[in-house]
């Protein structure tokens, strides 16, 4: 039986060389579930997704209707008060989660699809394909993202679809670079070489060996991208370039600004949407970051620490082992 004893003990001297930079099955699950911050982040995301899905049932009022006086402070009837149009802030906030999260998820998906594809093609095939794609990516990278987003939103018409596409198109580059680097390193892994030496075709190599390895990074990146996309939506909308027919958190911040919430001392119209955005972005960042950190074993080893190893007294209970 000792033959199959897993070599846990090897980790002990393994302090100095860390853990192999490959992701094992269940890696994402274990890193997320293993980190309290990531768990909190995941909980927040799930909470908001649930709110967004059940928004129509959760809204106490019709968010588009005037259901109270303009800028009524929070009260029993309107928990978070009303906005400059007399709409119920809580309902607006709930309704806004739909568009904000929707834009976030969809734009991140677009970025992931484009970036992932370019990254995989570029990293896997290398050579001219790589050069051409990466040059293109380099050029895309130097375009100032926010101004381009604004200009594009202003010039190509302002609806949600365009905003999603614009954000996705602008943010794919970093995904592509990241994925390319990862694919390139996976491509050089011996097991890929081995499979190739076996005669396995490109499709098999990509689908069976490369993609599963880059998947955790892609997931982490997508989660971070969701945060960026939500951010970008508030940005575009704030400058009055959002889709006017939809309610999003960005729109609520814009309303607070253009609707003179500050003059009317209506903090309840200013604070909540920003808090929601901040919390969701924070949550996405925590989840994405923990997966990325998990992928980077370097960060787990600290040779410098204010904490010191402990000296046990020889009489200690453990020492007599």
């Amino acid at each position: 039986m000792s033959l199959i004893e897993p070599l846990q003990a090897a980790d002990e001297d393994g302090l100095a060389h860390g853990i192999a930079k490959t992701s094992r099955p269940g890696f994402v699950r274990s890193t997320v579930f293993g980190s309290p911050a990531a768990m909190a982040g995941l909980g927040i995301i799930v909470f908001f997704v649930v709110v967004a899905i059940f928004a129509p049932w959760l809204e106490p009022y019709d968010p588009t209707a005037k259901t109270g006086p303009v800028y009524a402070p929070p009260s029993g009837a309107h928990w978070l008060g009303t906005d400059d149009g007399g709409g119920d802030m809580l309902s607006l906030l709930i309704a806004g989660s739909r568009v904000s999260l929707g834009v976030g998820f969809l734009a991140a998906l677009v970025a992931m699809l484009i970036g992932g594809t370019v990254g995989v093609l570029s990293g896997y095939f290398g050579g001219t394909t790589d050069t051409v794609l990466m040059r293109f990516t380099d050029y895309m990278l130097v375009i100032p993202d926010i101004p381009l987003m604004i200009i594009a939103a202003a010039l190509f018409g302002r609806n949600l679809k365009n905003i999603v596409i614009i954000i996705g198109i602008i943010y794919w580059t970093s995904t592509a670079r990241l994925i390319r680097a990862q694919v390139k390193s996976v491509r050089e892994r011996v097991y890929v070489k081995r499979a190739q030496a076996l005669g396995a075709g490109n499709r098999r190599l990509v689908v069976k060996h490369v993609l599963p390895q880059v998947a955790p990074l892609l997931i982490a990146n997508t989660v971070l991208m969701i945060a960026l996309a939500i951010f970008a939506e508030t940005f575009i909308t704030f400058l009055g370039l959002g889709d006017p027919s939809t309610i999003s958190w960005g729109r609520l911040i814009e309303n607070a600004f253009t609707g003179e919430a500050t003059i009317n001392n209506a903090w309840w119209a200013i604070v909540p949407p920003g808090v929601c955005v901040t919390i969701v972005i924070l949550a996405c960042t925590m989840v994405g970051q923990s997966v990325e950190d998990g992928l980077n074993p370097r960060l787990r080893v600290g040779h410098l620490s204010v904490k010191r190893f402990r000296v046990r007294t020889p009489a200690g209970p453990e020492a007599s082992k």
């Binding site: 033959l3 199959i4 004893e5 897993p6 070599l7 192999a20 490959t22 992701s23 094992r24 099955p25 892994r189 011996v190 097991y191 890929v192 070489k193 081995r194 499979a195 190739q196 030496a197 076996l198 005669g199 396995a200 075709g201 098999r204 069976k208 060996h209 599963p212 390895q213």
Partner: protein, 335 residues
């Protein structure tokens, strides 16, 4: 004279050359700096027969791994011929090569790296069958996997078959890699430093396994930097220096009676197990030159303790040494 059983020769490499360009950069291209090449493999000839284990020995950077990669056509070569089982495979296109990929299998140095961490043992060993669409029925496939595992010493197979690499020890992982190679029943197995990453206590097991396969008639080409291992397990040893084989012969002959000054030096620095037999290392000056700038004449002459004037001019051929086993050949003008 030809190696034994010329007809039984499985792999016959003749004058193999593999080079790749050194990137010279934009400025270099603009200023028309000469295009430099790394002469990784620079005219290597050797053969492996069925039931024979040949060890390709040398220091890092001598071109032994490139040679192996070239033989399995993972690295393009610029000259020479590679004949496998009587067929010239050096010029086959990828499609024609596919059936041959079954016949030649390779295992790598680092068993931590050579297994896909997301594949179970079954997935890994099954993969070659799937890639070559060999066995359609899943029961047959399973049987083949079991058989390969048993041959590789992973018994009982049920214990391991559903494990992931991180749940195995280093030796077990290397056995999985070997099983994945065996499942296609290859004729030639190339083992690239098969034990150098393993703990001393399990190395012998892996090597014994390879030895067993050889006995069963498989040809084995072992790439190693460890002369002791090579001396113990290989039938023949070929010593490489700077992209060229400098000495070749039966394993015991080469280590006990080295002819080439390089081999002599190499053997002198191998630490012996017995503390009472303290060796007198014959340490060579300098380090192995960069394979970009191969010295003219004998490539070993700048470091050779016995070099003469003519060594700077004439590039010696690999040839028999008078008064020795006819299979023992060396490339030195002084012999």
């Amino acid at each position: 004279m030809a190696p034994p059983g010329a007809d039984a020769r499985l792999l016959d490499v003749e004058g193999l050359i593999a080079r790749y360009p050194v990137p010279r950069g934009l400025l270099g291209a603009v200023m028309r700096r000469p295009q430099l090449t790394v002469k990784a493999v620079d005219g290597v000839s050797f053969s492996v027969a069925a039931g024979e284990m040949v060890a390709l020995v040398g220091e890092s950077g001598c071109g032994k791994t490139t040679t192996a990669q070239t033989v399995i056509r993972m690295v393009e070569h610029q000259g020479g011929s590679i004949r496998f089982d009587g067929t010239e495979i050096g010029s086959l296109n990828p499609r024609e090569l596919r059936p041959l990929r079954r016949e030649i299998q390779i295992i790598y140095q680092d068993p931590y790296e050579s297994l896909d961490p997301r594949f179970t043992v079954r997935d890994t060993i099954e993969e070659p069958i799937r890639v070559h669409s060999l066995v359609a029925r899943s029961e047959d496939r399973e049987a083949k996997v079991h058989e390969a595992m048993e041959r590789a010493g992973l018994t009982p197979p049920e214990l391991f078959i559903d494990r992931y690499p991180h749940e195995l020890s280093g030796g077990q992982r290397q056995r999985v890699a070997i099983a994945a190679a065996l499942v296609l029943e290859p004729k030639l197995l190339i083992a690239d430093e098969p034990v150098s990453m393993l703990d001393v206590s399990v190395r012998a097991g892996i090597l014994a396994l390879l030895d067993g396969l050889r006995r069963d008639g498989m040809g084995v080409l072992m790439i190693t930097h460890d002369l002791s291992t090579a001396a113990h397990f290989a039938d023949r040893i070929a010593v490489m220096y700077l992209g060229r084989i400098v000495e070749e012969g039966p394993a015991r002959e080469v280590v006990r009676n080295p002819q080439h000054p390089y081999t002599k030096a190499l053997i002198s620095v191998v630490p012996r197990r017995d503390p009472d037999q303290r060796t007198v290392p014959q340490i060579l000056i300098g380090e192995t030159p960069n394979p970009v700038n191969v010295p003219p004449g004998c490539r070993f002459h700048p470091r050779c303790p016995a070099a003469e004037g003519r060594c700077k001019e004439t590039d010696p051929e690999l040839r028999e040494v008078v008064g020795l086993d006819p299979l023992h050949r060396a490339a030195c003008l002084l012999l």
